[in-house]
Amino acid sequence: MTVMAADPILARRAEIQQIAQDTARRRQLFSRFGMLVCRACLVIALIPLVALLVYVVIRGASAWNWAFFSHLPTPAGIPGGGISNAIVGSVVIDVIAAAAAIPFGIGAGLFLSHSDGRIASVLRLSADVLSGVPSIVVAIFAYIVLVSRHPGSLGHFSGVAASFAIGIIMLPIIIRASETAIRGVPQVLSEAALALGARRATVARKVVLPTALPGLITAVLLAVARGAGETAPLLFTAIGSQFMAWSPLKPMNAIPLVIYQNGIQAYPDLVKIAWGSALFLVVAVLILSVGSRMVATRLRRVRRD
């Protein structure tokens, strides 16, 4: 080591360390301040969310009792009304919608994740546009296709018409989320399967989709949670009902409809039913989101161990 060469470096080291030390306190304060600002932003962003949840819980919980879940709606002024037909309606409508949207959505996601051609980019753009289309537009479309009178249409309000509309809303969510989940599967796994002589379809079925399963479950449940809360499509299709309807070919009641129709009434009993239904919807969406996350992490953990 020559002293000549080392000197400027040692001098610079001393200067840098001096400045670093002199500014350390200021930088640390600034850093703490920055963290504080971020934390404050988080709190502010959470306020409306938490306030809404707390309010729904407080107002909704008092509506919950056995009759609320098991009884049919009653006219204003008659106590003991429930939302049993709305729960049945929502479950039937959303299950049919999901059952229809899942295969198409995951299939399209699989296609998109494996191709970057022109068709793929058109499809991807359509999915993005579709997910941005206001649900009222989807609703009027479903109304025209399945409710209004013309050949090929049912010609009346029905649960399937609602499933059709909600399936359309779920579709782009499932497509894009499953594309992302499938893209997350390492290329080397597909290559390993191909190198063993597997066909592309086999690779997708035996390797890619099972590996992407946690992500796919999340994709589907998020789409269901989103679809379950949609109201506009139901107004144009399921329309609502005072009676218990198990057949999706008939008009059906649904949770969002109960909230909409009862929430704006002048009778406290009915408004209470609306709050109870709102809480029911929030809890259902919470269970779907938390459940999907739990299933996904459990699957991932099982595979890691």
Binding site: M1, E15, I16, T23, A24, Q28
Partner: protein
Amino acid sequence: MTDPTTVPPVPMAETTATVGGEMSTKDLAMTLRDVSVAFSGKAAVRDVSFDVPMNQVTAMIGPSGSGKTTLLRALNRMHDLTRGAVVSGEIKLGSLDIYGPTMRPMLLRSRVGMVFQRPNPFPAMSIYDNAVSGLRFNGIRRKSLLDEAAESALIAAALWDSVRGRLRAHASTLSGGEQQRLCIARALAVEPEVLLMDEPTSSLDPSATKRIEELIGELKDRVTIVIVTHNMQQATRVSDQCAFLLMGEDKAGELIEVGPTAKLFSAPSDARTDDYVNGRFG
């Protein structure tokens, strides 16, 4: 920087390797005494003690899971950022206890730099901005000092000639080997006393690896280097001293042997070292 805590004389226990015969603490860049690292109560490295001589290259070798990288990251308190990680024992930079109560981790890290396995230049910054990023993080604003440090570091990293005309270009325009040399320059620009290198060539091709290895030899005058490597040939090529770690029975890494590289590879005192350096396992 002065250390207010009084420093007890370091006991030269039998676990401590003496390097190159007589050596006073003044010539030691870092000293490790009974260093253990645990993650959420599970030991990853246990009771490691050795000295890092100044202006030399110390290599840490050993098979996967032997705790080399974990130990390396304890040397500039990178484990502070990991929840549940606990470093015990004593690590000193010169006479300064780096886990002492008055130590600011950010100041420590400006004195003990780090180069990672994969080149990680900041993608949103130009070559120049990458090179001076550490200085700016440390509050240095003076243009002449930034320029001078950047040029010196880029020269030292053997990158100056190829980038001097395009300092404003994005770092991503460089090849993988150049990017890693930029990362070395970035670490050097802060003029650290010690440079930690975590398998710095593991993602590079042989010719880029050769450049980095040559560089390591040239940088010795400027900075003390501690390098983790999987590659034993690399350890023999670049290091003066070698520490051999092995995973113990409870999966915690332990130090088997430390000594001059030539001795460790030709006449190791532990049979396990002999087996490892001669390729009988690992």
